[in-house]
Each structure stands twice: as C-alpha cells, then as structure tokens.
Symmetry: C2
Subunit: 108 residues, 2 copies
C-alpha cells in the first residue's frame, strides 16, 4: 500500500494530540496496575524476572508506538485502532481520506 502524507490541519492535530494523550495515559495506567498486581502476589525470583521481561518488552513497545511525526501519524493511529486502544469514531473530524487509510491499515 502506498501512502502519501497530505498534511495535517491544526484542528486535526488537536484531535490527534488529545486522542494520543488519552490512549497513552490509559496504556500507562494498565501497565502500572498490571505490574502492581503481579508484584504484590509474587514470591519467587523467577516471577520477578518475568516482570522484568514484561517491562523490557513494554518499554520498547511504548518507545516506538506513540510516534507523533506527521509522516507517521496514520500508522500510529492505525496501530492503536488495531489494538482497540482507540476507536475510529474517536477520530471524527479528520479528513475522510486519512480515516480510510487508518481503517485500512488497522486491518493489516
């Protein structure tokens, strides 16, 4: 699939900024709560190393996932739709062309 960036208006940028902030905060809360619950209940060092592995993977994932460069925004949003972190309806206000691309990429 080829994708030609068409630029983002200030209104679109504001919609995207807000939705990304919300999704990021939500994901962080889930990660913190998951680690908290796991650590409260563990008794063995191997279980703690599993938490370490989880954090390594999550940190790497989060570092790359919320890419706010304009040329990457469609991919960033598509990934979040794919993971059910956001819904297409949350993006009402974006150009139809962009919404179609996000929707299409989210299925890959």
């Amino acid at each position: 699939m080829t994708f030609t960036p068409t630029g983002w208006s200030p209104e679109e940028k504001q919609i995207v900024d807000e939705i990304l902030q919300r999704a990021y905060q939500q994901e962080i809360s889930l990660v913190i709560n998951h680690v908290r619950q796991t650590v409260i209940n563990l008794t063995q060092i191997d279980e703690l190393w599993q938490v370490h592995d989880f954090l390594s993977a999550k940190r790497y994932d989060l570092d790359g996932k919320y890419d706010t460069r304009e040329s990457m925004l469609v991919f960033t949003l598509a990934q979040l739709v794919k993971e059910n972190s956001i819904k297409l309806q949350d993006l009402d206000g974006l150009e139809k062309d962009k919404l179609a691309k996000i929707s299409s990429l989210a299925k890959v």
Copy 2:
C-alpha cells in the same frame, strides 16, 4: 594477589552451600520487598522505568555474583563479606588459608 585453589573438602562445600543459599535467599527477599514497596507507591511511568533499570542491574549482578565454581568460591564469598551479606564467622570450618584469602579480598 595470586591465588592457587587448594580444593574444597565435602565439609567445606557443605558449609559454603548453606551460607550461599542463605545469602541468596536473603538478597532475593530484599529485592522483592524493595520492588513491591516501590511499585505500590509509584504513579508515574518514569518511576516504573526506574524499577525496570533497577531490575536490569540487579539481574545482571545476581547472575554473576553467586558463582559456585570451586575456582571462584573464594571470590564469591569475599564479595558477599564485602557487602555485609555474610560474616567471616559464618565461614568457621573452612581452612585458615581460605579464610585469610577471603578476608583479604573482602577489603579490596
């Protein structure tokens, strides 16, 4: 300092096995409790990444520290004495020559 391994008797091995087991369990408990306390109180993702960094360092440290190869035991024990995880008196029963080397290395 040069060190020539002189071999470990079964009695010495048993003393060392027990003290290493105890020190390892004690250190693991400290690590688990530290992480538990930290995670219970944190609210920011950066604080969680600090826990991740701590676990990365601790895992690396623990992987190397409890080296039970006979040729390394004097160094393993010296490091634990240096860190106050064990005391020289805990090693009563080892050859005087080994105790002297452990005591000397623990000061480095």
